[in-house]
Structures are given as structure tokens and as C-alpha cells.
């Protein structure tokens, strides 16, 4: 595992927060679907150290988004425990912010007002309005403050959703395929930005992605899930120092291993 000391900090940390220590213990979860229980998570256990970047990888529909909703406190696990800094998670809290798979911006609010949502909800907007502009600058959307969501491209909307999360200075950032809607070029840029943000702000990050390369480029650990009901197949440490190079042979090796774990390596 890579320690934070080996991270290259481009700029001194703006406002480093203490990342949350996350413990997921023996979590199982089932939905009721037409009266039948639909098991989605099967005895999932893992921990993330404060400030750690963990990627979650798994087949579509296996239960990754569900896991993030449990950690966010939006849903309660059928069995097992989810703890943030040793306190059980019972309800959502602005220290743990979830960036949804869909940007889900409020169509009646401008970009600026969408980003300001969290500050407004907590009554901080009066003193901290400047953070809205900072967050928009961070995702490269300065100049679009007064645009409405319908006037944005899919990638821009996703970036607004990211800014809406970052403005709250979360201690745990839950990212559900936040770059999934971006074109591959913007995606590469945004991966770099995300990494820089994480290195500056020191939040704990949990990233769900379908993209093995993205997981390996960003995360310190990659947790691989099975098909539904999801259980952990492997917990792979990405022992490559930042800044990483996409062509690194060690990353390629890990990529092969993970594809093998997912049963997708016959074209390797």
C-alpha cells in the first residue's frame, strides 16, 4: 500500500480534512422484489483507512451502487454493520457525500445554485458563498454559473454534480461512476483532477467504476466483486507510486489479474 507521504503534492493542501475511517462488516443486503427477497450483497467486509482511495469493481447489477447507498446512510443493511470512525452509520451526513451515477441536478436551479445546495441546506451559504465559485473553478465550469442544467452537456452536468459534492468538503467521498458519462478525453483530464483533489483534500474516497484501467490509475486498492449477490472476490493493492503512468507494466500486470478474476481475460 502507498502511504500519503509518497504522494506528490502539486500545490500545498488547501484545506486538508481528516478522512473518515470506514468499516464495512459482514454486510448483507436484500431488496423485496414482487414479494420475493432479492439478495444483493453477501457478507461483504472491508475497511478503508482515513484518506485511502479504494476502487470498487464488479459486473453490472451486482450491488455496487447499493453498497454506496448503505455507506451514505440512505439505506440500512439487512444484516451487518457499517461504521464511520467507529460510529454506526444510521442516517445521511454531509461529511459523507455521494456523487450519484446520474448527475441528477435540480432542473429549476442554475449551475451555481445547484452547487450551493449543500451550503444552503446547512445554513452556511451566507459566510461561505465563495466556495461555490472555487468548486466550479475546480471542475472547469467558471462562466456557466447562471446556466440551467438543460443547457449543459452530459459531461458538464456530471462535473456540476462533482462540484456540488466537493463544495461541502466531505471527509468521505462516495463516487458512483462519476466519470462514466464523459468522453474518453475529458475522462482522462478529470481522472487527473480527481487525483489532485484527493491528494490536496485528503478525504477518504470510495470509487465505483466499470473501468479497470481507471480503477488502477486512481486507487490505492481495488476491491473486486462477484456477480449478484456481490461478495468480495479479491482485494488488490495497487503498489505503484503516484504520479502513475498509464503505460506502467505493473499496472498492466494488475489489469490482467483483475480481468482474470472477472473472467474476462480470454482476449488478453
Amino acid at each position: 500500500m502507498v502511504t500519503s507521504a509518497s504522494r506528490i503534492l502539486a500545490t500545498p493542501p488547501a484545506a486538508p480534512v481528516e478522512g473518515i475511517r470506514l468499516d464495512v462488516e459482514d454486510v448483507s443486503h436484500a431488496f423485496q422484489l414482487e414479494g420475493q427477497p432479492l439478495p444483493v450483497l453477501n457478507q461483504v467486509s472491508f475497511s478503508a483507512a482515513p484518506g485511502e482511495f479504494v476502487a470498487l469493481l464488479g459486473p453490472s447489477g451486482c450491488g455496487k451502487s447499493t453498497l454506496l447507498r448503505l455507506v451514505a446512510g440512505l439505506e440500512h443493511a439487512t444484516a451487518g454493520a457499517v461504521r464511520a470512525d467507529d460510529a454506526p452509520i444510521r442516517a445521511p451526513d454531509p461529511s459523507r457525500i455521494l456523487v450519484f451515477q446520474d448527475p441528477t441536478l435540480y432542473p429549476w436551479r442554475t449551475v451555481e445554485a445547484n452547487v450551493a445546495l449543500g451550503l444552503e441546506a446547512r445554513g452556511l451559504i451566507k459566510n461561505q458563498r465563495h466556495r461555490v465559485a472555487e468548486a466550479l473553478d475546480l471542475v472547469g465550469l467558471t462562466g456557466f454559473e447562471s446556466a440551467y442544467p438543460r443547457q449543459l452537456s452530459g459531461g458538464m452536468a456530471q462535473r456540476v454534480a462533482l462540484a456540488r459534492a466537493l463544495v461541502n468538503e466531505p471527509r468521505l467521498l462516495l463516487l458512483d461512476e462519476p466519470l462514466g458519462k464523459l468522453d474518453s478525453l475529458t475522462r482522462i483530464t478529470m481522472q487527473g483532477e480527481l487525483l489532485k483533489l484527493w491528494q490536496q483534500a485528503r478525504f477518504t474516497a470510495l470509487l465505483v467504476t466499470h473501468d479497470v484501467e481507471e480503477a488502477l490509475f486512481l486507487a490505492e486498492r481495488v476491491i473486486v466483486f462477484s456477480d449478484r449477490p456481490a461478495r468480495i472476490v479479491a482485494d488488490v493493492a495497487v503498489d505503484v507510486a503516484y504520479p502513475r503512468h498509464r503505460g506502467d507494466p505493473r499496472l498492466a500486470e494488475l489489469r490482467h489479474r483483475i480481468l482474470h478474476l472477472l473472467g474476462l481475460d480470454e482476449t488478453w
Partner: protein, 334 residues
């Protein structure tokens, strides 16, 4: 080659701008109508005499002259001029219809007086009875405003309540299902003796008629809000109050406005009935009073005022909606 293209492009433009301005044509038509009003003698066959013919002719001539002048001035009138030009064909049509009406009633008496009042009959009402008409309009607007605003406010509050709180839904929903579909006018006899005055009874009836559609649409708007909107706000630390006021209500606003439009339509209907049957003031009362005295010209005049009032109120609501829902992509233009 390029010349052909040029003529191809030029043709539709030439067709779009006729040599004679339609505004000037409509001005001429109004002048013609004035000549008809003035030149052809009235046929006084009915019980009521035809008066105010010179005034009508003067009005038509004045309008015709103004339109003709505006048509000849053309583009020098700026933006109001452009709006006027667009209305040109309508001015022309109205001139013709008015002349036909004049001809059929006052001049040829094809349509019998007094049931079909000539245009100058309406003019007579506006010039002689404007005080009473104006007062009636004021009473109607006041009654409508009280009833509508109370009904709309209560409707929105009730709709939010049943959309948000299970308990409210449990108790209010069955009542709404039972009482809501009943036309508000069915309460009229009860309301007139249950309330201290016929005015307060009418406010109640109008509020009832407005409240039902507003409640239902607000409720369905709240119920239809994307659940992810709430999840997002909750992870960002929103209180329940914030969820209601800053998430549910704005998300439901397009529906709420549909309810407000339906409620306004319903309130007009109840207003007229309430004024005809109970309240001794307002345009509805004026209408039935005019009918009682066989003052048909007064009836048409009041009807016209009423149409203008209702249309203006709807327009006002559309303006409000366009302001509030400016974030929506496509809105029907009124």
C-alpha cells in the same frame, strides 16, 4: 447561376411584403364602415330607439384614420408599429364584422331589436352606464380575488400536506375523493344560509371550486418528484423543512400551475353563478339585472367586459408562470 439563386431567394421575400400595407387596408375598411354607419339611415322598428349612431361613426372613422396613418408611416413606428402591423389583418376582419353587424341590425333590421342590439347600442351602454359597469367589474374582481387566492393557498397547502405526510393523506384523501368531484355550485343553497352574508358564502364557493383542482394537481406534483432529488438533498444535510420547501415544492411547481389554471377556470364559473343568484353586485348580477329589464345591449356590453376580465386574468397567470418556470424548456405561449 448565382442570378438564379438570387431570384429564387428573392421571391418568397417579395411575396412576404405586399405592396399595400395590410394596416392601411384595415384603416380604409374602418373608414368604409364609418361611412356605412353614417350614410345609411337607421331603421327604427323596435321598442328601443337607436341612438349614438354619429358617435359610433366618429369612433370608426377615428380608428380608421389612425390605422391608415400608421400603415402609411410604415417602419417609422418602431416596435409598437411592428406589433400593430402584425395585428393588421385582424383589424381588417373586425371592421368587416362590425359593419356586417351594423348592417344586419341597425340598417336593415334583419336581426330584430331589441334582442340583437346594434353596435351603437353597446356604445351607448359604455358611455351612459360606465359607472355602474365599472363598479360591477370592481365587485367581481374583488370577490374573485378573495375566493381564488384563499382557495389556491389552501389548495397548495393541502396538496403539499397529503403529498408529504402519511397521516394527512389518510384523513384528507377520502374526504377529497368524496367531496371534491361535487360541483361547488351544488353547495349554493346551503352556503347562502350557512354563511352570515351572501358575499362570504360566495367567497367560500369560489375558494372551494378553486381549491379542488389545485389540491389534486399539487398532490400529484409532489408525489411525482424524482426520489433521487430527496436523497441528494439528504446526503447534503437538508432538514425536512428544506426538503419540502426547496425540493418538493419547486419540483412540483409545473403541476401546481396546471392546477392554478384549472382552478381559475372553475372560479369564473362559480363567480358568475354566485353573482346571478346571491350577491347583489358584480358583472354576474349586472347580467341578470339587464336580462330582467330586457336591456339586451347592457347584457352584451357586460358580457364583453367579462370576457376581457377573464382573459386578462388568465394572461396574468400565464405571465406569472413564465416568470416562475423560466427554467423550463418549452412553454405554451398564451
Amino acid at each position: 447561376m448565382s442570378a438564379t439563386a438570387e431570384t429564387l431567394y428573392a421571391r418568397p421575400r417579395a411575396a412576404g411584403r405586399p405592396a399595400v400595407s395590410p394596416l392601411a387596408v384595415s384603416g380604409l375598411l374602418w373608414l368604409g364602415a364609418a361611412a356605412l354607419t353614417h350614410g345609411v339611415p337607421d331603421r327604427n322598428t323596435g321598442i328601443t330607439d337607436i341612438a349614438y349612431t354619429p358617435q359610433l361613426a366618429a369612433l370608426q372613422a377615428g380608428l380608421g384614420g389612425a390605422l391608415l396613418a400608421a400603415g402609411l408611416l410604415g417602419g417609422r413606428l418602431g416596435r409598437p408599429g411592428a406589433a400593430l402591423r402584425r395585428a393588421g389583418p385582424w383589424f381588417a376582419l373586425i371592421a368587416v364584422l362590425l359593419a356586417a353587424w351594423e348592417l344586419l341590425t341597425a340598417k336593415l333590421a334583419v336581426l330584430p331589436l331589441p334582442f340583437f342590439a346594434p353596435p351603437q347600442g353597446l356604445l351607448e351602454v359604455y358611455l351612459d352606464d360606465w359607472a355602474r359597469l365599472g363598479l360591477s367589474l370592481w365587485h367581481s374582481v374583488k370577490l374573485l380575488a378573495w375566493g381564488y387566492l384563499i382557495g389556491a393557498a389552501l389548495g397548495v397547502l393541502t396538496g403539499i400536506s397529503i403529498g408529504w405526510w402519511q397521516q394527512a393523506s389518510y384523513w384528507i384523501h377520502p374526504v377529497l375523493r368524496f367531496i371534491g368531484p361535487l360541483p361547488a355550485t351544488a353547495w349554493l343553497p346551503v352556503a347562502f344560509f350557512a354563511f352570515p352574508s351572501s358575499w362570504s358564502a360566495s367567497v367560500f364557493l369560489i375558494a372551494l371550486a378553486t381549491g379542488f383542482p389545485v389540491t389534486i394537481l399539487t398532490w400529484s406534483g409532489i408525489a411525482g418528484v424524482n426520489k433521487d432529488y430527496y436523497d441528494i438533498a439528504r446526503t447534503l444535510g437538508a432538514s425536512e423543512r428544506f426538503l419540502v420547501l426547496k425540493v418538493a415544492v419547486p419540483a412540483a411547481l409545473p403541476h401546481i400551475f396546471v392546477g392554478l389554471f384549472m382552478g381559475l377556470g372553475a372560479s369564473f364559473a362559480v363567480l358568475v353563478v354566485a353573482e346571478m343568484l346571491g350577491v347583489k353586485a358584480g358583472l354576474g348580477w349586472y347580467l341578470s339585472w339587464a336580462q330582467g329589464w330586457a336591456a339586451y345591449a347592457n347584457m352584451y356590453a357586460a358580457l364583453l367586459v367579462m370576457a376581457v376580465m377573464c382573459s386578462s386574468l388568465i394572461t396574468l397567470l400565464f405571465r406569472l408562470r413564465d416568470r416562475v418556470l423560466s427554467w423550463q424548456k418549452e412553454l405554451v405561449r398564451w
